[in-house]
Symmetry: C2
Subunit: 324 residues, 2 copies
Amino acid sequence: VTKQTPMFNRLALIGVGLIGGSIARAARALSLVETIVATSRSEPTRQRIAELGLADEVADSAADAVADADLVIVSVPIGACGPVAREIGPHLKLGAIVSDVGSVKGDVIAAMGPHIPPGVHFIPGHPVAGTEHSGPDAGFAELFVNRWCILTPPPNVDRRAIERLSHFWEAFGANVEIMSAEHHDLVLAVTSHVPHLIAYTIVGTAFDLRLVTESEILKYSASGFRDFTRIAASDPTMWRDIFLHNKDAVLEVLGRFNEDLATLTRAVRRGDGETLFNLFAERRAIRRGMVQLDSGKPAPDFQSAESKPPHDPIPRPYAAFDDD
Amino acid sequence: VTKQTPMFNRLALIGVGLIGGSIARAARALSLVETIVATSRSEPTRQRIAELGLADEVADSAADAVADADLVIVSVPIGACGPVAREIGPHLKLGAIVSDVGSVKGDVIAAMGPHIPPGVHFIPGHPVAGTEHSGPDAGFAELFVNRWCILTPPPNVDRRAIERLSHFWEAFGANVEIMSAEHHDLVLAVTSHVPHLIAYTIVGTAFDLRLVTESEILKYSASGFRDFTRIAASDPTMWRDIFLHNKDAVLEVLGRFNEDLATLTRAVRRGDGETLFNLFAERRAIRRGMVQLDSGKPAPDFQSAESKPPHDPIPRPYAAFDDD
């Protein structure tokens, strides 16, 4: 993949954490935009954005940042999306595209939508990518390579605007999928939100037990527990907001999980080896099916990225992870 | 670490899967024993052991394999440990050490113990190491490096025999810990058995939901779900036996987990953001504490290993995994 002619003149990033910081680095490395203007609610973060050289301009407020921007990406915790939309609404340029990166879409659309004026294209988005790190230093240009970005445009959004935003994400190496906000929220409840809630729970259970020492849990965590603690290391504010804003889908999936866990618990209690074996064998087959899925899509050219990521670009590389 | 003078004359391996195959490779690479004799209940596996050159001799039966052996390691599914002990008991050499590698110790001791004759040192063991692979091809010499091996000797076992077996595992790069069988089973229920049961459950829940397509689960699994599917890919026979034989500890920990999950579920249902945030922040701190634990112990010298592992020696290297 060679460098692009700029797709947008002026990109405004509202919030520069892991995701916003990665968008800034990727857009810069690939020359996807002429100018990047970034802002954060916190003064230290604005200073850090400037120090890291993540943007051409650092604005003092979201309202200032969006003036004259062609593409606005709001990357703040879900609970802050509504207030940000209220602030930027009156300052958005006619014809601009406004998107976000939140892990819940229904509530974000309800909170942001009413503040986006006619003539501005509101296309909510969710790049399904992340690490357990957060903050502007955690971002890196390759974060979205071979990841999915889900767009959930309301029914009447301009088709060309959707295409422009899709191409922007595809340039980062992402695969773009379009679906309804409701379906997105259910898919993510299954693949991400409930797994996280369960991981948080079991980490707490282990340490609250008092039957086993903390040192013992740490020593023997390689035998399974460690996979859960990694998940449980994610940003607490982000996750609080996810569970507050995707309540219905999360409770639905949790209810099913509880029924299934009761079935397995009963099999353990009864010593029903046949049921246990059959369930385990079925799950193993699922995992084997998954491993065959990863494709070898070529990555974009990030060679000219100005700043190197502060750590290994992809913390758990596919190659090492999918070794069966 | 340089090569050792042989610690044992004749090592008998009963069962050669991931663990038995790794013991064979490591013992050979480090010249820890003069002669390795191995056997498996299955004829194709015995052929494969010979093809891979894992042993100096391949015996047709467990009884044949243990004749004249100084160290016998039984690496079969937990449910098969009792029958194996019954078979080998009459053929064990006076003064020999008999150990196993099972993930449950109480039931294994109850099943094997009565068949081990006086004058033979029975020291149950559990190397806390593994991958989701199984079979003789899956083994590799470095499997135990920086892992823990727990020994659970009954009270009256000869102290020197415990020391000899400890040194054998330490030569592989493992850290040895000694505890009671009861405590082992509780520790493993917390750090391994219950996490696996939960992982198996959620993988099944996701695919049984019918609200989300299989393809969607696969596409978006990087957002959390994938960590669970990896765990759920382990050997179904081994895991069935673990749950049949560590029932009490597993049910105790599961009960606590269910209480904790109910608390989190209630917080989601009530939209109680403060409770969610506090719990998530506490779990994150736990994870950060864990990451500081890994030590930089030097690895043994495996350079002269005759057979290379069929895949990356350590599927999820510490360096890539503990990146924060």
